[in-house]
Symmetry: C2
Subunit: 209 residues, 2 copies
């Protein structure tokens, strides 16, 4: 282990911050096609050889931009109800998707160009869903949803409509979106829609009653 690796606040961390800041800025300003190790090195003021050695290519840079987003102590809000917690979560999803500069949208777009970026983005979301497990634990403790409720399925159902509308359908932003999807999911959860892990596919023919 080198000295820089032992000191996270040291020179290596400073270089990483400079490089990732430059990569984010170039991505939102000029898009994926303008993002190269050379343009990032130039913008960051860090030596080309250093950037190549540590990040290798654009995929490595994008994956590290996403990995760096996990170095935080983010946790979901505790509002006192499942619908409230899911609404607060969806408000954060919406804010990320409509932010200016549009870094999240640029990273999503880049994930269609770069396999490392796609993997890192998936990892970012999985981490966020895992951290949100506590939202469902609290709802179970309050008796709002059944004890066997599958947190991941519930959380994906709550957030997916926000992503779908803003990322894929490209609807205009709508302040009502977060709450709509949150309340619908809370109702479904209370009715047992996410009770237990999903049954095997063979048990669920199309058109079952």
């Amino acid at each position: 282990m080198t000295a820089t690796a032992r000191r996270p606040g040291g020179r290596a961390a400073r270089i990483r911050a400079q490089v990732l800041t430059a990569a984010r800025a170039l991505l939102v300003e000029r898009g994926y096609d303008a993002l190269t190790v050379d343009t990032v090195a130039e913008r960051s003021g860090v030596h080309r050889a250093t950037v190549y050695r540590r990040w290798r290519d654009v995929g490595g840079l994008l994956a590290d931009v996403l990995a760096s987003a996990l170095d935080d102590d983010w946790r979901p809000r505790d509002t006192g109800t499942l619908a409230g917690d899911l609404t607060a979560l969806n408000e954060e999803v919406r804010a990320a998707l409509v932010e200016d500069p549009p870094l999240t949208m640029a990273l999503i777009a880049a994930s269609f160009r770069s396999a490392p970026a796609a993997t890192a983005l998936g990892r970012f979301w999985e981490d966020r869903y895992a951290r949100c497990g506590v939202v469902v634990d609290r709802a179970v403790a309050r008796g709002e949803v059944p004890a066997g409720t599958d947190a991941r399925r519930l959380l994906i159902a709550a957030t997916a409509p926000v992503y779908h509308r803003l990322v894929l359908l490209r609807q205009p932003d709508d302040p009502g979106l977060p709450g709509d999807a949150a309340r619908a999911t809370a109702l479904a959860a209370a009715a047992g829609a996410f009770d237990g892990p999903a049954p095997a596919a063979a048990e669920r023919p199309v058109g079952e009653r």
Copy 2:
């Protein structure tokens, strides 16, 4: 109006079919970056000048690929229950997203590069959601969901988790996905989650009970 425009089965239609087939093939085989008016003209055997005149650029070609997908008499299946109808719909969404060659995924990826493709893709989905309104009408008629149920919100809630998992989270394909999302949404709808148009945002503060 020209003779070709009056005869949809005529030469203009034949040229359109050749060009769009070539555009689809190039997109799935070689990706967006390989798609140019020249490569499409060459592959289709149609004269470059004709392709430029009629489609102008890659955006025009992609928009027409998507517009052509609407020239069908697709309608949702009638299985006898809301959960069954939504499962059948989600099976079609899933099939499109995991198809090989991956045309739908390539079009989604292209929509992040081309504004006309994004607009055309949005139009395609809106058309599909509109055609699915009958699914909700039937559920209302059977008394499965309240009369004021908002079809579009319900349909987006049902399908969004399938898109989210396969397109954005890039999970491996899961045959249980369509039914899971369908049943959760049917339960939510029965509980009145999509009853009436969404209330104004101001009425729905974060954390409301």
